[in-house]
Symmetry: C2
Subunit: 777 residues, 2 copies
């Protein structure tokens, strides 16, 4: 968004003003206007500013660095706010990952001479990239625009579900071209592109595919591209020279302008537009299946050339998706809140042709009937709060599609298990756990059941019982993952035990007592990781001894923990925090331990080798997921006011409505979902429990239009910077004594009203009976 | 075939005996028994000895060298008779190519310790390869057996259309394994395998795929493999180490024995068979489409485990295919003749799943309805005699399938043209010309019409008019291909002109006078290559001048000719030999020139750089196709006895019923088709003319059961080594005065009777009216 545009938005409501309760009709409009897609594009957020519709298959966004820096981490979304040149606009991006891939089908408009290499960002004009300025750049949900100053080209982007649409304005005086680079990727290295193809059809359609290895090995993606003006010439280049067998090459191989198709590993296509072209619309559809599928998607979604209609549809989709919230807060908070909601609505994203065909983890094509296939499952992150949030703010069908997609992936899995971390249909084996299980369990327990329930339980059990994966065989035998055989064993034992508890919940609800009993027992396996002597969760060897030497500050691959250390992982028993507290000798001991987490003096250099551990408050690392529930744990120890304090501390220090405003990777919406829940005043510490732990509200008023047609409203009377403690709570006018609100209570609609005060209320939520307690299936 | 087996065959009929005319019932049996698949596996033949059914998709054969020698030429079929160790048995092989590829899904049975690399052939025991001996080796059509002496394993192979079946006999005392190497290829180099996959299913089925670049870039092939005994363990290896992204790998990635699937570029799978396994049947199906397609093909073709039934079916298919001929000749001749017939029945081969799906030149999957998709089109070679032979000895449906497959390939071609040199559905752009055109024209002119004829003419014209290919744009403008713009221009001009003539023939037959006129004119373009001064066909520059300096002995890439020189290419006007003779100043001048070709003293070292130019008699190079019609040209000059002499000279010196018995690459049956026609006594010098030029017979009697149910018989009275000249000829008892026999005359059945004599008959065929003359559309 340009400085000017931002100022204009700011004028809608100055920091001091409070908006009147919006009418439902303009709620969407107001929510839409509040979003700033640049939040998280600097710092560690790894979000992208480009055009996307809610859960769309296409994420069309500018890339500022490609094929240049060895360190792919910082450019995982292709764009960094501090860069000053753009390589082009590619059609696939992750929103906030810590690893990188995608960046498919990069299109760059060019005026004048065409160079085939992007060039060095430190040497302006050394390649086809162009400089740009933030003053000449705008972003709104589903829309992005920028001036490419090296070429004098104005570029606008918008998107549909399966399409990305570009509008380029050229000055008349220079020859206009489109460059399509099939080599680029967020994480590029020799051999990354396994194979690719470009094919110019007689009607001017350019289709193609590429197959890459990397995070998802063997990934195939197809596309079709059409231009609103005639393609008057083309050059199809292969910048790798030795590709043809003994010199046999397609017709006129030495003349890229005569080729109409090309295959290879390093392809660049250039399309020439007619002399004097002032404006060209470029529409691109993706397909997981085939070039024909991409053409069909293109025709289904955008038969004509009306950029503005597509952009308006995108705006409408976002307004509807964001507008389920009506919020009273100052402009900065509204921006942060709605941008967080925006970021939670990106994944799992559509991965299916318009005819229902998609590619599974077996890299084969399948047909979805009656549901939409989704992919990009960052499950280790998103099972915590992002999926639970989507059950509240999206129509049930969305969560049904999530579950159907997970079950389908399992049916097509050679391992017979649910996805671990999947994108574009393929398994990456990234991170740990079997966290598709709590996603399904959370949906089932909330009564979302538009999928075969028996198969769902079967799939959950199969995933939890699959011996070769992550030490499960040993875990089943020993009750913990042994560190002398399997890495990151402490984290695995803890997360498996939680996932197991969610299976027990579902099995019990289905009346499957046998399964429930087994997994209830496994849910207690966290105890095998608990070391009474040190008070930490630790990894044991297969002989039962804890691994020595033990350093609770040690983190990283090869240690006992996954992207964390003992100080961060020792509180991960969401299914039985009461049991954890007893293990520590009771409430006050436990609170002391949690205080040690937040109050330790920690040199951030300690985590220099772990790029994902960021956002430190003591040992607490808000930038990474293992910490996300920790601030809520005081509530379980009967001291909710301590949680209220900590949450204020985190909200103040870890989020800001600026490009640098996310302290850690957004992780496909988990960082943002934490913000949304916390701002509303409650958080799903134990998904599948149907309980939310009450933290404290950060918005004066927030109304949520639920999928069932009811409206749930949270009001925080007297809230301001000096009044951050809960004085009292009522639900529909009746005092709420528990520090928990049930999912059913939210679904019933009504009003949760907080009265805020300047000092802690040390009585509310103190009694044992008023605390959250999940451990029962 | 072992020495013993060959002796036994020899006993059926010693060199001196003449077999009685076989009954139709045992004609197949006798023909089958005469074939020696080892012919051509030494020397330059490049045939393979393994198991295949007529035109089968699977060619299951031993490979003796793989991933070892830089020079792939000699091992184009994977096996060389002079090698003494076998790497394994792979499922795809070309029969007699000059370039190499294929060698897919190599299976090696192993007893004892498993090594993952094949090892060096010069160091026995250095890898998984095993020594073998010809004394312990047998080959028959559709069956191959060998003892792998390093392992004490007896291996037998047979094949169906889409399956290869292995029977391995192990000694009980050592652990039995199957190794599946997905890395191997006939022409291997770094990066050859783009991607591959192995997947072990719960039922013990191993499926997988590989995608390779090379001769056919981006080629995908899928397979499914089942074993008759339980697979009790597996190790799936990736011998390339850096394939996984930042260390994320499938479950238990460091433990190949726990993996059930693997993707990568360097895969080796090992299946463990139960202790004490004495025999295992391994059945493997291929699919161009998918792993599921391969499983379906496997189940369709071999539901059980009866190796002998599959072998018997293969034998039956061969007996029927070969048994259309009943031949009286000595054993060596019968062996040479029937092995030649066997070699003509390999390609174009099936390339389609049992449900009709196949992969086209666009690398996409298509559905054949009512016809069978064929591929492996070595058209530059096979349009000359192999396709014309198949119209005589195969049911019409086969040629209809050929044409349908060519037309389908064109429909799926990004260039909109017929295949040039294609295999596994993909275009290789190998060699020159648009010789799918004469194949279709020959079929059409012979009345074989089970395909859309209008589309056929359209496809022929489109291919002949496609400007970017091989200088066609310039050829259309100038009447010749200009050498200053396009390589090998003289050869191209000549071959294009012939192909054009066949289009004119078809167009005229269809009443399309406009098209006929254009292409009849183009058929005369050979005149633009003719240099009166030197009497050679030469390449012109675009300004009309001949390229200088001119050396009629120069050959090779960069010269004016394709795999040949002026001495070899200057006689290529099969559509108008009479015109060519006139250009040379009449019969005797022309005969003198042809004699110069055969009688020159040529140092074979002159062709050391052109591996395909072999089988030299003077300049005549029988090992390569441009020479194939030359010995028949004397007939056109009214001196058929000179052709009779030359043919005797060629048959004696260029063929032998031994592994070294083919002097040049068999080229998917063209070398062998030349032999079959020539042995019968006639040859299709100008396909699409419906004329065969009479040479002289080499068999005492040959009966051909035609597809129309009639039988055509050739009898050579008095034929022996001393009686090689035609004295007189009768057709159905009436004197045949012309040195030509028409296709219709053959199809009518009846008896072509030669009376042979010791000296030339200088009258028969001398008169101008009796000579072949094709140039009229």
């Amino acid at each position: 968004m340009s400085l000017l545009a931002r100022t204009a938005l700011g004028l809608l409501c100055t920091a001091a003003c409070v908006l009147p309760t919006a009418q439902a009709d303009d709620a969407g409009e107001l929510a839409y206007a509040a979003v700033d897609p640049f939040i998280g594009t600097g710092g560690e957020g790894h979000t992208f500013p480009g055009a996307v519709v809610p859960f769309g298959m296409v994420q069309l966004s500018p890339d500022t660095q490609i094929r240049e820096r060895k360190q792919a981490y910082g450019w995982a979304a292709g764009y960094r706010y501090d860069d000053d040149s753009i390589v082009g606009f590619s059609h696939t991006h992750f929103s906030g990952t810590g690893h990188s891939d995608l960046g498919d089908v990069l299109v760059m408009p060019i005026a004048g001479a065409v160079r085939l290499e992007p060039g060095d960002s430190s040497q302006p004009g050394s390649g086809y990239r162009s400089r740009f300025s933030h003053a000449d750049e705008q972003a709104r949900p589903g829309y992005y625009a920028v001036g490419l100053s090296d070429y004098g080209i104005r570029a606008e982007l918008t998107a549909g579900e399966r399409i990305g649409v570009h509008r380029y304005r050229f000055s008349k005086d220079k020859p206009a071209h489109l460059l399509i680079d099939m080599r680029t990727s967020m994480y590029d290295y020799p051999g990354k592109v396994l194979w690719s193809r470009l094919r110019l059809h007689p009607d001017g359609t350019l289709t193609g595919m590429r197959e890459t290895r990397g995070w998802a090995p063997g990934r195939q993606l197809y596309f079709a591209l059409r231009v609103s003006v005639p393609v008057v010439g083309q050059q199809l280049h292969n910048t790798e020279k030795d590709i043809y067998y003994k010199g046999f090459a397609p017709p006129a191989a030495d003349k890229p302008e005569q080729r109409v198709n090309i295959e290879g590993r390093a392809l660049v296509g250039v399309l020439d537009l007619p002399a004097g072209t002032e404006q060209a619309i470029v529409k691109v559809a993706l397909s997981p299946v085939s070039e024909e599928g991409a053409v069909a998607n293109l025709e289904a979604e955008m038969p004509g050339w009306d950029f503005d209609t597509v952009a308006a549809k995108a705006k409408d989709a976002w307004s509807r998706a964001l507008g389920v919230f009506r919020v009273e807060a100052d402009a900065a908070q509204r921006k942060a809140f709605f941008t967080a909601v925006y970021h939670t609505l990106q994944a799992p994203s559509l991965f299916m042709d318009s005819d229902g065909r998609y590619r599974g983890p077996d890299n084969a094509v399948h047909q979805a009937k009656g549901w939409r296939n989704l992919s990009t499952f960052s499950l280790w992150d998103t099972y915590r709060a992002q999926h639970p949030l989507l059950t509240l703010i999206r129509p049930e069908q969305y969560t049904n599609d999530v579950v159907q997609s997970l079950l389908a992936a399992r049916r097509h899995s050679a391992h017979g298990i649910l996805p671990v971390w999947a994108f574009h249909g393929l398994e990456t084996w990234c991170m740990i756990g079997y966290h598709a299980v709590p996603v399904i369990a959370d949906a089932y327990m909330k009564g979302i059941r538009g999928y075969p329930a028996d198969e769902a339980l079967q799939a959950m059990v199969a995933s939890a019982d699959y011996g070769p994966y992550g030490g499960i065989a040993q875990y089943k035998q020993l009750g913990y993952v042994p560190i002398d055989q399997v890495g990151e064993a402490a984290s695995k034992t803890l997360e498996y035990a939680f996932d197991d508890w969610t299976i027990a919940r579902v099995a019990a609800a289905m009346g499957r007592k046998d399964v429930a009993k087994t997994f209830e027992q496994r849910a207690g396996n966290w105890r095998h990781a608990f070391d009474k002597k040190t008070g930490f969760m630790r990894a044991r060897n297969s002989d039962g001894s804890f691994r020595e030497p033990f350093d609770p500050s040690a983190s990283g691959y090869g240690t006992d923990y996954t992207e964390g250390n003992a100080w961060q992982y020792s509180w991960y028993v969401p299914q039985d925090v009461a049991g954890l507290i007893r293990s520590h000798g009771g409430d006050s001991n436990f609170v002391q331990r949690i205080d040690q987490v937040f109050e330790a003096k920690v040199d951030p250099k300690l985590f220099a080798h772990m790029e994902d551990i960021t956002g430190l408050i003591g040992w607490y690392a808000h930038g990474n997921e293992p910490s996300h529930h920790v601030a809520y744990l005081y509530v379980y120890a009967g001291q909710p006011w301590r949680s209220q304090e900590r949450l204020g501390q985190i909200m103040r220090s870890q989020y800001a409505p600026t490009p640098q405003g996310l302290v850690g990777n957004d992780d496909l919406g988990q960082m943002s979902a934490w913000y949304v829940f916390t701002a509303l005043g409650f958080y799903p510490v134990a998904p599948a429990s149907n309980e939310y732990v009450i933290g404290r509200p950060f918005l004066r008023r927030a109304a949520l239009d639920l999928p069932n047609g009811k409206t749930f409203t949270v009001i925080a009377e007297g809230l301001d910077d000096g009044h951050g403690y809960i004085g009292s709570v009522t639900l529909d006018g009746k005092p709420l004594q528990t520090s928990v609100i049930a999912h059913a209570q939210i679904l019933a609609g009504g009003e949760l009203r907080f009265v805020m005060q300047a000092t802690p209320n040390r009585e509310w939520g103190r009694a044992r009976a008023s605390r959250p307690f999940s451990m029962s299936p």
